[in-house]
Subunit: 195 residues, 2 copies
DNA sequence: GCTTTCGCTGAACGTCTGTTCAGATAGATT
DNA sequence: AATCTATCTGAACAGACGTTCAGCGAAAGC
């Protein structure tokens, strides 16, 4: 027994990625074995190494791709004029983007400590870039007198913490719709920054 | 070689606990082995089983004790009158308590998924109790017209997410003092709830 | 000083880990 | 029809895992 019926790398590749993402999001990187991921795909463990050089790279690629997509998506948003509308755009964008990818989000914020030093630095730089994009809006609004925030960096971290909590409790079939969550969050954040 | 000079369970016990807390906070439960914990204490792996029935119980006890202390400490706070001062008391209490125990906090919020079902339920119940105590203040203030929050549960989750982010970036020797962080956070939260 | 108890060692257990690789087979190419 | 190549198996590797336990030496109780 070897190559299976209709097996293709364009099919198995994404399936490996999805299985890894699902399992790591649920149980954590260190708790998931290559054999578990392989079983989820319906393949032997050795076959995974046709799609990744090793387990660590698998994690790194998941995180890197997520953050790269996040930055690219934000940079494509057409920004309105004024810091307040821009902050609103950021908040709504962030909530939508993250609620659409709960597994990637969990991994990006829980598995930092399982990255080897070099990978850790690379991912941290990407994340830092995203924080900077939010802080830029806050600095802008602070300069224009739209916001009252004594420390824009702290405010950026606080707002992101608040936003990042959402995928932790939001349920698609729960009490609140995505739109309602967006609206309530924007209201809280608008007031929090003094706008 | 067996029992060492001056060795006592009252000394080794806490040392095991501290080593486990430190290592699990840093690397994660699944990534830390009993042999690593033992090495940190300066003992063989087998000796750990004089202080815990197994690794899972070790994690459970760390989380349970942390949350139990948290609830007990909050319940001993003498609450002022009025929802706004009470919310301020909560915010300042929360920041102080958590900044004093960064390792316990990281574990309590990252290792839920490594708890076996029964333990998971127990810890979730404790955490739920803490969320309820915050929501109680929000409901109180909403009823009195002090706050403008359309959904007290969502607001409670949002505020806790925001607060729980602090130990992730706060540095004792950093740009901002604890007192300043407390003040800025309270200001943001006060405005966020419309007070 | 003798005995009991406590705290720990060091080896062993069966199982699982990430990773490698020769060999096998299905599908594509000629 | 014959050849080639991409995809996967199944076994093997050395080492690490959580946990158990007989035995031993130091401390405590008498």
């Amino acid at each position: 027994m070897a190559r299976k019926q209709g097996s293709h790398s364009e099919i198995t590749g994404p399936r490996v990625r999805e299985a890894a993402q699902r399992l790591i999001a649920r149980h954590g990187y260190a708790a998931v074995s290559m054999r578990q991921i392989a079983a989820e795909v319906g393949v032997q463990a050795g076959a995974l190494y046709l799609y990744t050089p090793d387990k660590q790279t698998m994690l790194f690629d998941l995180m890197k791709d997520h953050l790269t997509e996040l930055l690219a998506a934000w940079d494509e948003v057409v920004l309105p004029e004024g810091a307040i509308p821009r902050l609103e755009a950021f908040v709504r964008f962030h909530i939508r983007f993250h609620l659409a990818r709960p597994e990637a989000v969990v991994i990006a914020y829980m598995e930092m400590r399982n990255l080897e030093p070099e990978n850790h630095r690379a991912i941290e730089a990407l994340r830092h870039g995203y924080e900077d994009r939010l802080e830029k809006i806050l600095i802008e609004g602070q300069g224009a007198g739209d916001f009252q925030i004594p420390d824009t960096r702290l405010a950026a971290m606080a707002l992101l913490s608040m936003l990042n909590g959402i995928p932790g409790w939001f349920r698609e079939d729960g009490r609140l719709s995505r739109g309602r969550v967006e609206r309530i969050y924007w209201n809280m954040i608008r007031r929090a920054v003094g706008a």
